[in-house]
């Protein structure tokens, strides 16, 4: 708009630099967003970034109510993302609990429930309804789910091996306990 000011002159170098820097910055920002959207931090075959788990009242693992994912290194960790408003989750809830009953005494496999954007009442109702005893933590601010998958749909289940590497992702509910068992045994 400043054409008359720069009569018959080109664009001065500082202005040019400013334009290119602005453009590069904009593209970098969008690039960041794109990378973020397309590559969740957790990828199969790669180590899962650490996050905090603060279990719901009444839940714990080995007597500990607050831990990091990395505290579970050396065990197979199965992270099930659920929500009380999610109908397909109800379908697999008994299977997950049954799987926990099978594995919990071995101490070698941990099943963790992560409750995605839920209300306290809903969560409590769900946990009671299905008699869920495996450790469960809320993820109300979607800190955990955004590490695993930026566009989370529930239920999704993440299988992490003893070295902390993501091995398998199951989207949607499990058909049976057998399915859970076969995935876990394939990771041994």
């Amino acid at each position: 708009m400043t054409e008359e000011l720069t009569k018959k002159r080109g664009v001065s170098v500082p202005v040019q630099i400013a334009i290119w820097v602005f453009l590069a910055g904009l593209l970098a920002l969008v690039g960041f967003g794109l990378n973020h959207a397309q590559n969740p931090m957790a990828q199969i075959g790669k180590s899962v970034p650490d996050f905090d788990l603060e279990y719901y009242p009444g839940y714990e693992y080995n007597g500990i109510e607050k831990m990091k994912l990395s505290d579970l290194r050396g065990k197979i960790v199965v992270i099930n993302i659920w929500a009380s408003w999610c109908k397909p989750c109800e379908q697999e809830a008994p299977d997950l609990e049954q799987a926990w009953q099978i594995y919990k005494d071995g101490g070698d496999v941990v099943i963790l429930g992560v409750d995605y954007v839920d209300t306290p009442k809903g969560a409590e109702g769900y946990l009671t309804k299905f008699d869920i005893t495996f450790p469960n933590a809320p993820d109300l601010k979607s800190n955990i789910s955004s590490i695993l998958n930026r566009q989370m749909g529930v239920p999704e289940t993440y299988f992490i091996d003893r070295t902390g590497i993501l091995r398998h992702v199951k989207v949607g509910p499990f058909a049976s306990v057998g399915e859970i068992q076969s995935i876990i045994s394939s990771m041994e």
Partner: protein
């Protein structure tokens, strides 16, 4: 499981301590849908991105609305309920970022850029409208002698002038 209930009870107790105007606690009338929606309209549930809570049809949002209803019945004010949701689910539940810290940028940047644009525009206008260019105008416009342009508009406007 018991512990869980205690926590909820505590939450509501804690909430009721700060009540300034308990709207429904004494009256005992259950909150109406309109009262629930009035608060829900200003909230966004992460499950229903870019749809306000009062019109989002998902089950998750239904539960949120029920939570608002319960909290209203417990006597919480709108601010307390909103604050509860922010504490629990993060700032993204608000319809716009809170006016604090980094988030000031969203409010400050557009006026700053617009102001900058306005200043540049105003200064350019002043520059252009300076009478200094008289000589230049005559030099650069040899056709100034023939006011007739091919533009209908100006012809018409002249016509109009004659009529008066």
């Amino acid at each position: 499981m018991k512990k869980f209930l205690y926590v909820i009870a505590f939450l509501f107790l804690a909430g009721s301590v700060f009540i300034t105007s308990p709207a429904f606690a004494q009256g005992g009338t259950p909150p109406t849908d309109d009262e629930v929606n009035a608060i829900a309209r200003k909230l966004y549930c992460p499950v229903c991105e870019s749809t306000p809570l009062d019109v989002c049809p998902t089950e998750a949002c239904y539960e949120w609305r029920e939570l608002i209803r319960t909290m209203l019945a417990e006597g919480n004010t709108e601010d307390q309920i909103t604050q509860y949701f922010v504490d629990q689910y993060g700032a993204r539940v608000l319809s716009e970022p809170p006016k604090e810290g980094f988030f000031w940028l969203i409010y400050a940047l557009p006026p700053a850029v617009i102001l900058m644009g306005a200043v540049i525009l105003f200064r350019s206008l002043k520059e252009w409208t300076k009478p200094k260019a008289a000589a230049l105008v005559i030099g650069s416009e040899p056709a100034a002698a023939s006011p007739k342009t091919d533009d209908y508009l100006s012809r018409f406007e002249e016509e109009l002038k004659k009529q008066k």
